[in-house]
């Protein structure tokens, strides 16, 4: 194969110099365009022409998600893109991803994305303490639903491609929402409501641009994930306003900060928007059917016989009940901790009032503990240590015959 010359334009930014950065051009002899990845292109330039060039990679086989960059106007993995994938007539243009602070040249700081994972509670929290893995058929609907989304390698390509990330500082971005979605659909996860509440506001920022879906190197569609969360919230979200406030104080500061220009532009858009809204408001008013996120009604659910709950212990019981909300009805399972430590029966929520992780009672220390951030509660549920803002939440209960009933 004869070698061809390709012009390669690489974005350079040197933190020691600062400034805006810009492209530098290199000319590269390409021996075999179909066997040369963008990583090879960069490594060749680095070895032969300019050792100061910086880029990031680890696995070089599309598994780690370290090498995302904008290649000829599109987010791609450098290790998965070959020279032959780009039209020979074009220069090769390599530029860091959008929406992440640039450390040097093509290397970006991906912490803003990891922080969003935390804010949307995009981590698994077991619903109940099990010792055996859940029995779930491979073709169970929940698994069919999220199969692909669990392959996310957190490369950030989707975050870079989504223009809304830049306009809404609170927006969690497609990657975190794709993970939130996979957890929301996962029947083993215990933070259903909390995560739904944390993820939903972000979903409203999605404008169905489908850029994320176009660029994902793993074929995941965050767009689809976002729509799924919205649909689920429509029928299943319980409105719990106070939880949102608690998060406010704890959440790490948003890293996608709004600068002044954006703010002013934003304000301008808001004025025009308001004017348009007034013109069309009447139409909208007629078509609106009212709020759709309905709160589930409370009901008494039976826990079982009191005699089955051992004295002097805390027992976690999984309640399964049918909940009606609007025209839908579904089975909900909810864990409740029932304390018979003293004569009085107390029914606690298992969700930690801090961020909603699962709280367990530890017999050894005679305390309730939350593994996430070390919240500790005494036997009556009052906070002893850690970040929880208040005592463990309780359910109301009553006794009918030998049965214990809880108001859910």
């Amino acid at each position: 194969m004869s070698a061809t010359k390709r012009n390669v334009r690489v974005f350079r930014y040197d933190p020691a110099v600062g400034g805006d950065g810009g492209f530098r051009d290199y000319t590269l002899e390409v021996e075999n365009a179909s066997a040369m990845t963008m990583l090879d292109v960069l490594l060749h330039i680095q070895r032969e022409q300019d050792p100061t060039i910086a880029f990031r990679f680890a696995c070089r086989v599309a598994m780690c998600g370290s090498c995302g960059m904008v290649i000829n106007g599109r987010e791609r993995l450098a290790c998965k893109t070959n020279v032959s994938d780009l039209p020979p007539s074009e220069d090769i243009t390599l530029r860091p991803m959008n929406h992440f602070p640039v450390i040097k040249d093509l290397v970006v700081d991906m912490d803003p994305m990891f922080n969003k994972f935390r804010e949307t509670l995009s981590f698994f929290e077991p619903k109940e303490q099990l010792t055996e893995p859940a029995r779930i058929a491979p073709d169970a609907p929940e698994r069919e639903e999220i199969r692909l989304a669990t392959d996310c390698i957190a490369c950030g390509c989707c975050v870079s491609s989504c223009t809304m990330v830049d306009h809404h500082p609170d927006y969690a971005g497609p990657a975190a929402l794709a993970r939130a979605y996979a957890l929301i659909a996962d029947s083993r996860d215990g933070l259903f409501q909390e995560r739904l509440a944390a993820a939903l506001p972000s979903c409203h920022e999605c404008r169905t641009e489908t850029n994320c879906t176009e660029v994902c190197p793993k074929g995941i569609s965050p767009t689809r994930a976002i729509k799924y969360i919205q649909r689920t919230a429509l029928v299943q979200l319980e409105v719990t306003p106070k939880e949102a406030e608690v998060e406010e104080t704890e959440a790490p500061p948003a890293r996608w900060e709004v600068d002044r220009a954006t703010f002013i532009r934003g304000a301008g858009v808001a004025v025009i928007g308001a004017a348009v809204a007034v013109t069309l408001g009447s139409v909208a008013a007629i078509t609106t059917v009212g709020p759709t996120e309905s709160a589930a009604a409370e009901e008494w659910v039976s826990v079982g016989r009191i005699a089955d709950l051992p004295q002097g212990k805390v027992t976690t019981v999984l309640l399964n009940y049918e909940a009606r909300s609007g025209i839908y009805s579904q089975t909900i399972s909810k864990p409740v901790m029932i304390s018979r430590l003293s004569d009085e029966i107390i029914c606690y929520k298992t969700a930690c009032p801090h961020l909603g992780c699962t709280v367990h009672f530890e017999n050894q220390s005679d305390e309730f503990r939350c593994a996430c951030h070390g919240g500790t509660f005494d036997r009556s549920g009052s906070v002893i240590a850690g970040p929880p803002p208040r005592a463990l939440d309780r359910y109301r209960h009553k006794i009918e015959g030998d049965q214990l009933l809880v108001l859910i």
Partner: protein
């Protein structure tokens, strides 16, 4: 003055072993101050992520820990540390269950909803748990997410360059770190230090682990004076892709291809495996196939690409595309057609069985120093079974995490005092490449050491070549002491290559020294001048430590048959 940080527990690396240790240590002891440092981004570096095959564990009632244990010893050709291997197989069951129930991993299922287990080479029962062929991504993504959830601080792109020692040289006080972004050193001192940087033999021409890895942990442990064992045992995977001129070269084609019946051909178009292993041919174990391919390649029967061919097309293109979509895609990216044609491959350096000598708690020979994962040695003996690698990292990472939480609970959190001047001496020495006006390029030296290792300390070794190799390593080390790095200190990749090289030099020296001392062929170690396994001679572990002249000193200790006798091992599944 160098910036410094203090913690109760310093964890170097963020692969499966490191993350499991962090999670278990913290969950058992929530007020521990843990600090994780990693050379890459959170959870993105290392081999755990790259695991395709899966995780060996006994789950089925028909299977037993006994069988898994015996398979492991058989694979390791009897020189495993039996107690470690026994812990590995017995604790694996609980570990995999906890990874599902506590951390949210989800592995592939049987139709009845239980966890699916597939066959893997060298196993008497199908016991490999997997998630498609991306098991590592599932494990690492879930573990990383749990680390983030617990808010454990992680210093990204901060590599450890050396362990710090107290005045006596017997106690590890922490590690000297290099923040690659700022281009500056950072001293981390801790009540205990866990090294889990995951080996990764990238000092060869072809290697399967990502090029970001550079046997740093092994180099660091050795320099600190820890006892290392069985360093001659480097596993070569028989099917690494050849892609001339690309970093992707050496990336794996799955073992399952051979299992499914793929053929191997040499440059003359002969199915050479029929000569080496007439009964099983291509289905022979990794070491046998790698060795055979290597002999073909070095006997003038290589393909134009310098390797051999793998062919799967006779299995039917549809079959290949359906069962190995990822592999077909990987080949297609480089213009090879796995489903219809032949693809050039070569053995590729895959895994280091050797490592620090540790006890069941991961404690090394130095005080306050713990090691887990691929950096630790002994579990796999002379050869690792496919699927026992990630298993080791998760299971023993978990054990070490639990042990550490206890250890640090018992009043062991106090920091020892680092030897005066160690930080300054090391930092000054390491920064010198920036100050020189001329000198060899680390890129060139790295290439040289890779070629040297491949040709002389590679798949098949012999005495004269190993002796030559040791001399050449000295020469490379000498040049490395005069290296020059250009450019500023922020995110300087040339400098990264320079520091990587220093680890590679130390490890190459250990491998060559141990290889020379073992005058037999056993497991992954094969000597053309001693082509037979000699059970009357070879049942020892090569313990090695850094001598006063900086060269490795080797001491052979007999294998302790604490659970199974030699006869039991030899008679297991004979034939």
């Amino acid at each position: 003055m160098t910036q410094s940080v203090k913690a109760d527990l310093l964890i170097v690396g963020m692969g499966a072993a490191a993350s499991m240790a962090a999670l278990y240590a913290l969950d058992a002891n929530p007020d521990l101050n843990i600090l994780i440092v990693t050379k890459a981004l959170k959870g993105k570096g290392g081999c755990s992520r790259m695991v395709q095959g899966g995780f060996n564990v006994v789950l089925h009632p028909m299977d037993s820990h006994e069988k898994h244990f015996m398979d492991t010893l058989k694979g390791g050709q009897y020189i495993n540390k039996q107690d470690l291997a026994y812990t590995l197989v017995t604790e694996a069951t609980a570990t995999i269950k906890e990874m599902e129930t506590r951390f949210g991993c989800f592995f592939d299922r049987n139709p009845d909803g239980t966890i699916h287990q597939k066959p893997f080479a060298g196993q008497s029962y199908d016991r490999t748990v997997h998630k498609g062929d991306l098991t590592g991504i599932e494990i690492m993504s879930r573990l990383t997410e749990q680390v983030i959830k617990r808010g454990i601080p992680v210093l990204e792109e901060t590599r450890a360059v050396d362990l710090l020692l107290d005045e006596s040289g017997k106690t590890v006080t922490g590690a000297l770190l290099f923040d690659m972004r700022r281009g500056d050193f950072l001293v981390a001192e801790a009540g205990a230090t866990l090294v889990a940087t995951g080996g990764g033999p990238t000092q060869y021409r072809f290697h399967a682990p990502g090029p970001e890895k550079s046997v740093d942990g092994l180099g660091m442990l050795y320099r600190a004076g820890a006892v290392m064992m069985d360093m001659e045992m480097v596993q070569f995977h028989p099917t690494g892709l050849i892609i001339p001129g690309s970093v992707v070269a050496g990336a794996l084609l799955e073992e399952g291809l051979r299992g499914a019946g793929a053929y191997l051909f040499n440059g003359n178009g002969e199915r050479y495996m029929l000569n080496y292993a007439p009964d099983v041919a291509e289905r022979a174990t990794r070491d046998v196939v790698s060795r055979s391919s290597y002999i073909e390649m070095t006997s003038g029967r290589a393909t134009p690409e310098g390797g051999v061919y793998i062919q799967a097309s006779h299995l039917g293109p549809e079959f290949v595309l359906k069962n190995f979509p990822g592999m077909a895609e990987r080949c297609r990216q480089f213009g090879y057609d796995l489903a219809r044609g032949r693809v050039p491959i070569s053995p590729t350096a895959h895994f280091v069985m050797g490592g620090a000598a540790v006890d069941l708690n991961g404690q090394s020979s130095l005080e306050k120093l713990f090691v887990a994962g691929e950096d630790a040695g002994g579990v796999h003996g002379a050869n690792r079974l496919g699927g026992n690698g990630i298993c080791e990292s998760c299971v023993l990472g978990r054990q070490v995490g639990k042990a550490l939480s206890k250890h640090l609970h018992n009043g062991n959190r106090a920091l020892a005092t680092t030897r005066k001047d160690q930080v300054k001496e090391t930092a000054d020495r390491l920064l010198r490449p920036f100050t020189r006006d001329s000198g060899p390029s680390p890129f060139d030296l790295r290439k040289r050491i890779k070629e040297m290792n491949w040709n002389k300390v590679g798949v098949v070794r012999d005495g004269p070549h190993l002796t030559e190799a040791l001399a050449e390593i000295d020469a490379i080390a000498d040049e490395a002491s005069r290296m020059r790095v250009s450019g500023g200190r922020n995110y300087n990749m040339m400098y990264t290559a320079a520091v990587d090289l220093l680890s590679m030099i130390d490890v190459s020296r250990m491998v060559a020294t141990s290889a020379l001392a073992r005058e037999e062929t056993r497991g992954a170690h094969s000597r053309s001048d001693f082509p037979k396994q000699r059970d009357d001679y070879g049942l020892f572990n090569s313990n090695l430590r850094r001598g006063s002249d900086g060269k490795p000193v080797i001491e052979k200790t007999p294998v302790a048959f604490t659970r199974k006798s030699l006869e039991e091992c030899q008679n297991y599944r004979k034939g």
